[in-house]
Amino acid sequence: MEPTTHSAESPIATNPTIFQGRVQFSGQAGEFFGIWIVNILLSILTLGIYSAWAKVRTYRYFYGNTQIDGHSFDYLATPIQILKGRILAVVVFVIYSLVVQLLPLIGLLFALGFLLAMPWIINQGLRFNMRMTRHRNVRFAFSGNYGDAFVNFVLLPIASVFTLYLLLPYALKRMDQYLHENISYGNKAINVNLKGETYYMAALITIGVAIAGLVIFGIFVGISGVAMSVGNVDPGNLNVSTILFPVLIMALYIAFLTLLSAVYQSIIRNHIFNSSEFDDVASFKSDLKAADYAILLFTNALAIIFSLGMAYPWAKIRRARLLAKATEVTIYSGALAIIDTAQQEQSSFAEEAANVFDIDISLT
C-alpha cells in the first residue's frame, strides 16, 4: 500500500517526474459506518433536511481519504448548496407528477422539454462537481457547451437506436470523450484521446461473456427445473424448493450482471485513464482486472442483501480501495506551477440545482 519510490527516471529531460505511485485510499469501514448510520438517523429525525449535510460529510470523507503523493482531495460544496438543489428538485418533481396525472398532454411536452434541457443539466451538474473538487488548493473545472452535449447525449443515442444499436459503442465513446476532455485542473486542460475500437471491442467481449453466461445459466435452469417438477408435485404448497429456487436464480442473476458490468467497466475505465493526461503535469494508468472487480461487486451485493443494507459502508469503502489501488498516477514538475482559475467565479444556483441529478466523474 506504500507509494512506490519516487521515480528518478523521466520520460522527457525537461520534464522530470516528481512522483510515481498508486492512489492511496485510507478510509476505514468501521469509521465510515458510524458517520453513515448516525447521519441517516439525523436525516430521519429532521425529515430529510439533514441529508444535505450527510451528503457533504460522506463526500468529504471519501475525497479526504483519497490521496495522491500524500495530498488529499477536498470536497468543497456546502450543505446549503446541496439543500437548495434538493428542494428545487422536489418542487419540480411534484409539479411534474401533478401535471402528468392531470394533464397528460402537457406532461408529454414536459418530457420533450426535459430532453432539450438534459444537455444543459448535464453541463451544469458537471461544472458544479468539478468546481467543488480540489487537489493541492487548486480546483478542477468543466467547460463543455450545450451544442456538444446535445449531440453526444441526445442525438447520438437516438441515432444508435435506429442503427440497431450498432452505433452505440461509438456513442458511448463520444459521451466519455466529452465528459473527460472538458475537464481542467486549474489553468491546465486535460488531453483525452479515446478510441472507438476499444469501445467496440469492450462491447464484443461483454456480449461474448453474456452469451457464454446465458448458455450456462440455461443449462442450470433446465436441470433445476426438471428437478423441481419431480420434487414438487403441489405448487400451491410452499416448500423448501419453491423458496430456494427463486433465491438461487436471483443469486445467479446478480452474479451474471456483476460479471457483465465488471467486464465492460474495467475495460473502459482502464482505457479512459490510460488515454488521459494533463501535459507536463500528470499522467494516469489504470490496471483494473475484470475478475477482481466482478468478485468485489458480487460479494458487495451479497453482503448488502444479507445484512439488510448494513454492509453498505463496508461495500463502498472496499470498492473505493480497490479502484484506488488499480490507479497509478505519475506527476511531473509542471504540477508545481498550476494556478487556480476558478477562484473568482461563484457557482450559480442552476449549478447547485443540477447537482441533484448526481452527474459525477469519479476520481478514485
Partner: protein, 345 residues
C-alpha cells in the same frame, strides 16, 4: 497546548505549490514556520476558518488570504475550535449512539414508510376534489385499457344481470352507487382476474365471470374484496409508499453502482410485496365480513379463491406466472383456511 508545534503542509493561495511546515498557536494568533524557522504565515485566529471536523480526516485550517494548512496527524483537532462545531463528529464516533441508530433507523423507516407516508397520502387525496380523483382514476383505466384490456364479449343479458346484482349489493351495504362502478373487459393478459381503481371503478374480466359462472356468490365475494381495496384506500397507500421508499433508499444509499441498485430495487419490491400481502389480507377480511353481513357465507370467499387457485395451477404448467402471483398475494391455502375458519365477532 503541549501539542504544538504541529507539523503539516501549507498550501499557497490559489496555487498547487506547497510547503512542509509547523504551526504554533499563541493566545489568539497562529503562525506557520518552515524547517529553516522562516515565517510563512501569521494570522489572528478570528481570521482562520475551520472545516467541521470529520472522523479520520485531518482538520484543515484556511486563512483569509486563501492559503491552507493541513496537519499531518489526522486525529489532531484545534483546541480553539468551538464546541458546537465538534458536536457532529462526537456523535459520529459515539458507540452508544451508533448502536442506537442501528436499532432506531429501521424502526423509524418502517414507521414512516408504512404508516406515516400512506396516511398522509390518504389524507391529501381526501382533500383533493372528487373530480380530480375521478379524472386520475379514469386516466389510469385508459392506460390499462390500452395495454391489457379488450371490449367485453359477455352477452348483454349477462352483463345487466350482474350489474343489477352489483347495484343491489351496494344499496344493502349503503355504498355510493355513483362512486362504485362495475365494468367488464376481456383480457388475455390478465386472464381470470379483477382489480379496483382508487376512485371506485371495479374491473372484472370475462374470464373470471366464466370461471365463476355457476358460483355467483363466489363472484360476489371477489367483488367485495375489490370494494375492500377501495374502501381502505389501498391503491393510494401503495403508490405513496412506493414513491417514498424509492426516494428514501436513494438518499440513504446515495450513489449506488448499477448492480447494487438492482439489488436494492428488488429489496424494496420485496418490502412492497409484503405490504401488498397485508393489504390483500385486509381486503379478504372486508369481503368475508360483508358476505356474512349480507347473509351469505364465509365459504363463498374460500370457494372463489379455490376456483382461482385451480385455474392458476393449470396455467402454472404452461408458464411461471404463478411465481409472481405467489409473491404479491398471501398463499391461497392460507386465505382459504382463513375464510373457512372465519368466526364473526
Amino acid at each position: 497546548m503541549s501539542d504544538f508545534p504541529i507539523t503539516g503542509c501549507y498550501y499557497y493561495p490559489n496555487s498547487s505549490q506547497h510547503q512542509q511546515c509547523s504551526a504554533i498557536v499563541t493566545d489568539d494568533n497562529l503562525q506557520l514556520v518552515d524547517a529553516q524557522q522562516q515565517l510563512l504565515v501569521s494570522s489572528s485566529l478570528v481570521n482562520c476558518q475551520l472545516e467541521s471536523p470529520l472522523p479520520g480526516i485531518a482538520s484543515a485550517i484556511s486563512f483569509s488570504e486563501g492559503g491552507r494548512f493541513v496537519p499531518q496527524d489526522i486525529h489532531f483537532r484545534w483546541p480553539f475550535a468551538p464546541d458546537k462545531q465538534r458536536l457532529t463528529e462526537r456523535l459520529e464516533k459515539n458507540k452508544a449512539l451508533i448502536l442506537l441508530s442501528i436499532i432506531l433507523t429501521p424502526l423509524l423507516l418502517w414507521f414512516i414508510l408504512y404508516r406515516g407516508i400512506p396516511a398522509i397520502a390518504v389524507y391529501s387525496v381526501s382533500l383533493a376534489s372528487p373530480n380530480t380523483v375521478e379524472n386520475m382514476g379514469e386516466q389510469v383505466l385508459t392506460v390499462i385499457e390500452k395495454v391489457a384490456l379488450e371490449p367485453t364479449k359477455l352477452s348483454e343479458d349477462q352483463q345487466s344481470a350482474l350489474q343489477l346484482q352489483w347495484q343491489t349489493m351496494l344499496k344493502q351495504l349503503n355504498l355510493d352507487t355513483a362512486k362504485f362502478r362495475l365494468s367488464f373487459y376481456k383480457s388475455d393478459y390478465l386472464s381470470a382476474n379483477a382489480f379496483a381503481l382508487p376512485h371506485g371503478r371495479v374491473v372484472v374480466t370475462d374470464e373470471l365471470v366464466k370461471l365463476l359462472n355457476d358460483k355467483p356468490d363466489a363472484l360476489r365475494a371477489i367483488l367485495l374484496h375489490e370494494i375492500g381495496h377501495v374502501e381502505y384506500h389501498h391503491g393510494i397507500r401503495l403508490t405513496a409508499q412506493a414513491a417514498a421508499s424509492s426516494i428514501v433508499l436513494a438518499v440513504i444509499f446515495g450513489d449506488l453502482e448499477g448492480i447494487t441498485e438492482v439489488v436494492l430495487g428488488s429489496g424494496s419490491s420485496f418490502l412492497q410485496q409484503a405490504f401488498s400481502r397485508d393489504m390483500e389480507r385486509e381486503a379478504d377480511q372486508y369481503a368475508i365480513e360483508k358476505l356474512i353481513a349480507l347473509g351469505y357465507s364465509n365459504h363463498d370467499f374460500a370457494d372463489a379463491i379455490e376456483a382461482l387457485q385451480t385455474r392458476f395451477n393449470e396455467q402454472a404448467k404452461l408458464d411461471d406466472s404463478w411465481l409472481e402471483y405467489l409473491s404479491t398475494h398471501p398463499s391461497s391455502q392460507e386465505r382459504i383456511d382463513y375464510a373457512r375458519q372465519y368466526k364473526p365477532k
